[in-house]
Symmetry: C2
Subunit: 163 residues, 2 copies
């Protein structure tokens, strides 16, 4: 049975998820060698940081008397930081794409449960931004998987997409 | 009847379209007051500049002996620079979204006509990037159109998405 979250819990879980997404992209951009992808991951990392801020503001508006208590885990199933160096880039991009899809759905579905009109708008806005993130990752994923090896992809990126 | 373009003409038309898209976003980012949107348009503008470069490189690889001759118009129906200040933000975003959709289709369809494997890959890559651009614009468009006035949208952006 799925647990029913209160809007306070939803927001806390969302903040935690954005923190985790930031940490994930932050580590991933350190690890990847391809500069084009590194830049894209840096962009995504900064976006997730902005989302965290935005959610903290929604929380403050909705629950001015409450303190934010982050749960142990967010709602996205991202690999732990320790695992990042052990996984292939293909698996990492797949995990990130899945997390963005789940985020998109989470924000869209939960926007219905929030009464305040502006907070609702912001959740829909976040949902739509996660959809762009998914597409940014998919562009890179499709390019990577069009090659038979990671080395061939790296060589192509360096030669055609610039250093 | 639709005209059939050679791969040389396709590339020249694509380069011209990216130049036009760059000019469009460049002017639009000057005109909009909302800082979040301004940043996004700046991002899009820089991306189109990179696409132009990428296409020029494909051209050089495919036709090392030819000089690039840009046609009068690209393939995207963007408003002229003079019209930008006369149109509503809603119409401008709609035009930009349509242009990104047409670009996505144009690159995907024409990737089939190019023989060289790497140039083909790059056109598919461009197509997929235009899809992300569409989604970035749609996020902002949906937010804008959720308000009854441009002023309300501007006020919301300033208060909730930061200066």
């Amino acid at each position: 049975m799925e647990e029913t979250l209160t809007s306070l819990e939803i927001l806390q879980k969302a903040i935690k998820s954005e923190v985790e997404a930031f940490q994930f992209y932050n580590k991933l951009q350190e690890v990847v060698e391809n500069k084009v992808l590194k830049k894209k991951l840096n962009f995504l990392k900064r976006e997730e940081k902005k989302h965290e801020k935005l959610l903290r503001n929604i929380f403050k508006n909705q629950f001015p008397k409450e303190k934010i208590k982050l749960p142990k885990k967010g709602f996205t199933p991202l690999p732990t930081i320790e695992k990042i160096e052990k996984l292939s880039l293909e698996s990492l991009l797949e995990a990130a794409m899945e997390a963005e899809e789940i985020s998109e759905k989470f924000y869209r579905e939960n926007s219905i449960l929030i009464n305040d009109e502006n907070s609702k708008r912001l959740l829909i806005y976040l949902s739509s931004m996660e959809k762009s993130h998914y597409q940014i990752l998919k562009t890179e994923y499709d390019l990577l998987t069009s090659f038979t090896s990671y080395e061939a992809y790296k060589k192509f990126s360096l030669e055609h997409l610039g250093p």
